[in-house]
Symmetry: C2
Subunit: 324 residues, 2 copies
Amino acid sequence: MNTRDRLLLLLKNNEGSWISGEAIGKKLDISRNAVSKHVKNLRLHGYDIVSAPHKGYRLSAGSDVVSPDEIRDGLLTDVMGKKEIVWFKETGSTNIEAKRLADGGAEEGTLVIADNQLSGRGRLGRTWFSSQGQGIFLSIVLRPRLAPMKAARITLMTAVAVAETLISQTGILPTIKWPNDILVNQKKVAGILTELSADMDVVNHVIVGMGLNVNTDVIDFPREIRPLATSIHAETGKIWSRRKLIQAFLKNFEQYYRTMLEGDFEGVMKQWKALSGIIGKEVAVSMVNRKVMGMVLDVDGEGFLILKDRDGTLHRILSGDVHL
Amino acid sequence: MNTRDRLLLLLKNNEGSWISGEAIGKKLDISRNAVSKHVKNLRLHGYDIVSAPHKGYRLSAGSDVVSPDEIRDGLLTDVMGKKEIVWFKETGSTNIEAKRLADGGAEEGTLVIADNQLSGRGRLGRTWFSSQGQGIFLSIVLRPRLAPMKAARITLMTAVAVAETLISQTGILPTIKWPNDILVNQKKVAGILTELSADMDVVNHVIVGMGLNVNTDVIDFPREIRPLATSIHAETGKIWSRRKLIQAFLKNFEQYYRTMLEGDFEGVMKQWKALSGIIGKEVAVSMVNRKVMGMVLDVDGEGFLILKDRDGTLHRILSGDVHL
């Protein structure tokens, strides 16, 4: 264990209490200058360490750090998060960083994670609000042996993994909103952005990006999205460990990803449909240049919404905004 | 017209003949040093300008330059090649350069072209042989409003455009080999590599790369591909203007691309099938981990080969190598 990790352990063993720079220096056999240097480095990696004259240092109780080390510690996956993990205190978009890594040859399971996204994106170039340290912003590099036309399955399967994680970890009951949002009480708690790089007959890589509002206070959402957005905290009144949610999500994600690749996509779609509650509903779908109203008959394995309008005409829609 | 272009015009008007540095300097009212500098610049752009003591400069007769200026001069398209044209004397792969431009926001119709590709690629990461100045190596940036699962149509449509260009410009009779090669007398004369960047429901950009062996001598092909490769020159015994072929190809390409986007893909497929000669043939298709033999019933609008094996089972194949 290196000095930094030994320092971190010491702080964790005294979580919430003060420990003087002198005492730390003695225990680790380093100078007070070196202590100060390592504390700075830990802060850069997201640890909330307070310092005060005559008191020393204190790791804030319940410090919820999503650094590579913290994510790896107790992660029960085989691939996802088991390769490179790249962490940013702040970045433009984790998907863009992941794409850059994938273009450079990054392996399946490579994880990019940020405490804050400066220009988080949603579908169709829309923005995604990110609040420093309160949400989960991550992207995963995948290299599935999959025909490009089947890549939409990854969005569907990821939505199921997010929803299952929320149910099992927090007890809230989410619904999936076609095609790529997760709602609680009709408000958006999570979004998925899947991006594909492919030759005509084979996928090069897929980037799955996921944004999840964890401990965000409702008051911190920009006023214009407040009626539309929520967080796990807002729904439950509790503070949640992002680290544990990430680990649980990665585990679920890996499991559904495998199930999908092994060919049992019908099973995944069954769960998707149960969680979406959209089948059989009357909806309006706004598309780029038109609007269709009707009843949702199905969502097929390619991610298309199958809608029957009042004239009985069937519509197969790949992209649009659904309103109940 | 700037000095460089005036010098080029002067050399073109005396194509194949010597003109002294002094005479050029006088005509353009520049120093002999400046003449030498502009000649160097033109050479960098691919012009074959010979210089000799006491004789001066001579633009080689039939100089076949594919610089941006030369391609633009007489180009009858509206979009393709009408935006930025980036020319390389040598580059790794025009598709990679085009992808970089597209990621940076390059417009539809942006053209990347190289005199030589150092690591030209084919499908499935295979290499594509490139011979300096003898072939056409180009990539086009497209931004179609197309569902990602329809992007394979672009490969099919490009194959038709290449084949039509060969027929109308050189009189040779090519066949299309599913999915992305153009053959003459069973040997490969051109290949297409289409690459897709997409969200789940909308294409960000498509890069269409095309490699065409124009004036390559058979002897210049590496020994191992000699039985499999040919050039227009090898088939006709003539030297062809790459510039004119590029212009004709861009024109055909633009026309088929439009037809496809406007929805008449059946018309394009009709031509594809006529040019492929694969329908009704007995073939063996080698895939990554298996081989199927049978009769080709169809190639559908998503680019799948529909094969019926001896047991009457239908196979829908997206990717593989076909042998007659």
